[in-house]
């Protein structure tokens, strides 16, 4: 099985994990994107939403499991076919929540174009934006190195 290992800087990453963990409650409450369901049947809507929430909670747990005791011992995270999809999805969910919760002042245009001057941001916006970039880097690593594994 193809696997990639990435060594991260503990002092840089540890504070970002606090932000991700802080969003876990939100992600366990509501889907990060609006439902597209046409049916007005509330039971069906509820079932649809529950399944979306269950999916994002499970994905987030897999993302956070990267940063367990082993990570704090050697600073290495490991991706392979067994966790790559869930982690890519979790990164997307957390980034969407970060935008909603912290990054509104940055503005969507700047966010989409990547034209944000980190040095000019103040806390907690700065840390949230660092986290947003960190998760994008994880996604890029997975897509670059494990795309074919995921598509399988």
């Amino acid at each position: 099985m193809k696997r990639i290992e990435v060594k991260l800087s503990l002092p840089v990453v540890a504070p970002l994990l606090d932000i991700i963990k802080g969003l876990a409650g939100d992600l366990n409450q509501a889907p990060v994107v609006e439902s597209a369901l046409l049916d007005s049947d509330s039971d069906l809507r509820e079932a649809w939403a529950s399944e979306l929430i269950a999916g994002q909670s499970s994905d987030l747990a897999i993302l956070l499991s990267l940063f367990g005791d082993d990570f704090f011992a050697d600073g290495v995270v490991r991706f392979d076919a067994s966790n790559a999809e869930a982690i890519a999805r979790a990164c997307s969910a957390v980034r969407l929540r970060l935008r909603e919760r912290y990054l509104k002042p940055v503005g969507d245009e700047a966010l989409e174009a990547g034209e944000v001057e980190i040095a000019k941001l103040e806390e907690p916006l700065r840390k949230a934006f660092m986290c947003y970039l960190f998760l994008a880097t994880i996604q890029e690593l997975i897509i670059q190195h494990l795309d074919e594994t995921i598509i399988g």
Binding site: A36, L96, I151
Partner: protein, 101 residues
Amino acid sequence: MIRPQAKSNPAYQPQAATLLQAEGGWKVVVLNDPVNLMSYVVLVFKKVFGFDEGTARKHMMEVHERGRSVVWSGLREPAEAYAFTLQLWHLTAVLESDEAH
């Protein structure tokens, strides 16, 4: 709730054309968002619809430049299932009836 398998296309089944006429068609439309990476959107399109790289990139660029792309059309039930799967991957997907246009 039925989740479509990657690379399947339920609309191509023999009874689908008749049902499509009776029920009317539905489009799965993906809308732009300022967060998801282009490469991630391409990955999702390949994974969910079985698109090749070129087709997935074409739809991604439509989403990026025009704000929306019709990624699938057919019967309502599979359209809803595809929209659900796209939402599991956190893309913003809406359903539109052919009759609305």
